[in-house]
């Protein structure tokens, strides 16, 4: 593996790690800056994705829409306090063409309620298109494809 390939791999890992840390460590305000503007962020299910259906449960097409999601979580929407713990599996770089890397990874996310109740909340795949033209790298597209159609109670914090 060349130094260039190694650097690419490290930068991709850094972005994917930073993403999970932003969410799990409650640095949500930093989360939108991990995306390009415009961008595409979609949380959907395996069933919808396989059927080519475009609507999921959370969608943003711009950094502004991501910022609005964060502000809504902080100031508008009402739900019981909770956090996630993501574990991201092996990162597979499927292709690199020009400025764009296509990267797949698997994740599981536990949900920890304010009273300590911990459940397995979601499993799925991240299907990413990552802009590798400048460091730090950014997501041009992150599809969060959940393995299940079912969401327990609500989805406030992004996955």
């Amino acid at each position: 593996m060349s130094m260039h390939d190694l650097a690419l791999r490290l930068n991709i890992h850094e972005l994917i790690g930073d993403y999970a840390e932003c969410i799990d460590e409650n640095r949500l305000e930093d989360w939108p800056s991990l995306f390009t503007d415009p961008c595409r962020y979609l949380v959907t299910s395996r069933t919808n994705h396989a059927a080519g259906l475009p609507q999921g449960v959370m969608y943003a097409a711009s950094r502004g829409m991501l910022l609005d999601r964060v502000f809504a979580i902080r100031r508008a929407n009402i739900f019981e306090p909770h956090s996630y713990r993501h574990v991201v599996g092996p990162v597979r770089i499927k292709s690199v063409e020009g400025d764009m890397a296509e990267v797949h990874s698997s994740f599981i996310a536990a949900r920890i309620m304010h009273d300590g109740t911990t459940t397995l909340f979601a499993t799925g795949r991240y299907l990413d298109r990552i802009d590798v033209s400048t460091t730090p790298y950014r997501f041009r597209e992150r599809l969060v494809v959940l393995d299940s159609d079912k969401i327990d109670t609500l989805l406030a914090i992004p996955l």
Partner: protein
Amino acid sequence: MSHAGMTAQQGVAWPSNGVSEVPFRVYTDPAQYQREQENLFKGPTWNYLCLATEIPKAGDYVATTVGEVAVIVVRDASGGINAFVNRCVHRGNLLCLERSGNLPHFNCIYHGWTYDYAGQLTGVAFEHGVKRQGGMPPEFRKEDHRLARLRTAELGGLVFGTFSEATPELETYLGPDVTHGLLRMMNRTPRLLGRSTQVMPNNWKLYFENVRDTYHASILHLFLTTFRINRLSMPGGIFINREGSAHYTFAKLDFAAEDMDYKDAQLRSDSEFRLHDNSVVESVDEYGDGISVQILTIMPGTVLQQVRNTIAVRVVRPRGVDKTELEWIHLGFDSDDDAMTERRLRQGNLIGAAGYIAMEDGCVGGFVQRALQYNDDGAGLVMMGGHEAESQPFRASEAAIRGFWKHYRALMGE
């Protein structure tokens, strides 16, 4: 659960003959839950089954549930839509395990019994035994056996089913106002945009009441007020049919004034109280009547919504006395261009499990359910706007919830 003579002692006691005080035990009592399955979901009511466009060809089927009961919906060779229970007459096995598909006939995996698109038994494996030994007794006739059927009806591209012969025709059941409201919303051929299911930790009625509750919207859902999206004057009203079994509520929006309001908001300096991207609320008057919100319910489990340019069917499926599955079926229409689809998807952030003006509805029922845990004596109050369940030209009212209880009590014999 429908043993004659047992029903009287099983019912929850109501404090009066009215519908503005609701005993809390209706949300916690397992016997009540079982009676609801018989009297409401399997009773004289219409239940959403699927979109007609999901099963366009002969043999196309959808396996779903009505309440807790497993049901198959299939298009037959003459273009009709049949529905029957998903339960083999032989040993009660599920016939369809997949959610949808196309089959030449329904074949039970257990012992190979087969059924046609009308649910008629057509084949029994080894019916005459093997080498003249065994087999069904001589009096057994396949023609005598069929899957228990539901009556079906289609309106506005939506397929409904009912277990009861006593249910009035669908449009009669809905009444003229609600029929009009349904056909207004479903005025084009629907196109499925996506689905998801929200699993809620509460009795199904707490969600159904929430949908009929026009009182809570601006109090529980703070998104629009936080972002100062002024819903200027919003004339609206509530239509409730005579029985209380179906209703719709609507609100109008001054689309042009709201557009001006966004532009003003962009000039404000307090950036955290304005949206960075307005596209989540930028809607068009696609029906040309100024109505931006229409919520329509059909007891016991069907909701049809227009929230701006989001169109969805929501199906309420009880899964135990304190668990409910809510399926969101997001729709566009066949005439939508790409811009319209993108508009629907962006506004889709308003609704569903992650919806800016909906997510609270996913947890508030669970909060009620928790509060009722071993604390379910007494009755809740449903008196906003009076004690009756009549249509009203305003929305600060719980009239539609009272309509729910009116029909509920009638069907439950309480």
